[in-house]
Subunit: 227 residues, 2 copies
């Protein structure tokens, strides 16, 4: 489903260059449940943004479902992004003026879903993440972990094929974090492709495969035998 080959991405700041991704090749099949780990600053979020077509690499190729993403124009890329990927950002990226409910409705609005269906599904998803009594709260009227859970609910709005979650439990207590992991486990069992950035080995244990990054390169890629 996902085939990255020799991906490079660097940022230049004045005279210095930061090589965020320094030659990444990675294949992920449909339905895989992958943990992406590595030290702070090793390139995990940069790789996740490229996987979710939110950013383009400086070099290398990215084939999604057999098609070369370099051939898409901006409009096709946006349509692919909104349909195929559900993205949980490390910094949540909720729209500050919209309520929790309206934030979760947004991807469905872009996909042309009708008002009644949008509100029902957004309410269902917010109840699923334990925020049934915070529907009308705006982001600055929510706690850190509550904002994170709104971001998770929003990522699932269009039932995307691929869920990319960047540190989805960083602000959650262990019990709430475990509830969220049960949700991701279930999505993986249903055949969704799930990639989770985490630095918590307890979270990574839920996944079947662990890819480790260091200084913009893959240093390990281990699959666990099931059973």
């Amino acid at each position: 489903l996902i085939r990255l080959k020799d991906i490079f991405k660097s940022y230049s700041l004045g005279k210095t260059v930061v090589r965020a991704l320094n030659g990444i090749s990675l294949e992920i099949s449909r339905g895989e449940y992958v943990a992406l780990m590595g030290p702070s600053g090793s390139g995990k979020s940069t790789l996740m943004h490229i996987l979710g077509c939110l950013d383009t690499p400086d070099a290398g190729s990215y084939f999604f479902d057999g098609t070369d993403t370099a051939r898409f124009n901006d409009r096709e890329l946006a349509r692919l992004r909104n349909r195929a990927f559900g993205f949980v950002f490390q910094s949540f990226n909720l729209l500050p003026r919209l309520s929790a409910l309206a934030n979760v409705e947004l991807p469905m609005l872009y996909a042309g879903v009708g008002r009644r269906a949008r509100i029902n599904r957004a309410t269902e998803l917010l109840e699923l993440v334990g925020l049934g009594d915070r529907l009308r709260h705006k982001p600055n009227e929510l706690s850190g972990g509550e904002m994170q859970r709104v971001a998770i609910a929003r990522a699932l709005a269009n039932e995307p094929e691929v869920i990319l979650a960047d540190e989805p439990t960083g602000n959650l207590d262990s019990r709430t974090g475990a509830e969220i992991m049960r949700l991701f486990d279930r999505l993986a069992e249903e055949g969704k492709t799930v990639v989770i950035v985490t630095h918590d080995p307890g979270i990574a244990e839920h996944c079947r495969r662990i890819v480790r990054l260091r200084d913009g390169e893959i240093v390990a890629d281990e699959s666990r035998r099931s059973g």
Copy 2:
């Protein structure tokens, strides 16, 4: 040093009222090393904002170093805040247009520290948290864990008596997180008062005392015997 008595704080949103703090009494002596734990939404950040004089309760009293904080005017409160407290926000709260170095210099600028001394100390603190090669980066040119570490360095700029850190390791891998905890351990050994919100029992183990919140109330307050 810190004496809270019967603190109440609630938010009203249309017809609903959220009781974030529902009668909190808490005493913290100078030099204590305290972990504040509890489920997502239980009131931890609200309590930390009141401790750091960033917010005022709806009812109850807060004595800091023997003085009733209700008697301070805004200017005195701001001066106390900038001098006595170093605050690491859960959402970092870095100024987006300033470099990492300038963000760490800011509290010293307010305290009237000269330019050369500010730059030296800010550089020293950023090297201490492992960001010596990211001094010129702005927040959106940093990873999540790097932003978090800039926020930690900034909190220590004026050598505050009380360090309030709200989930300081949420975005850090275990090795970087352990380095930050060694830094907090050392500050506690030097006699600073350190309060850390965390949901990670591994982090809480560094502290001598664990206060647990649930639904805006203190449900446990356990001190460990040393040795």
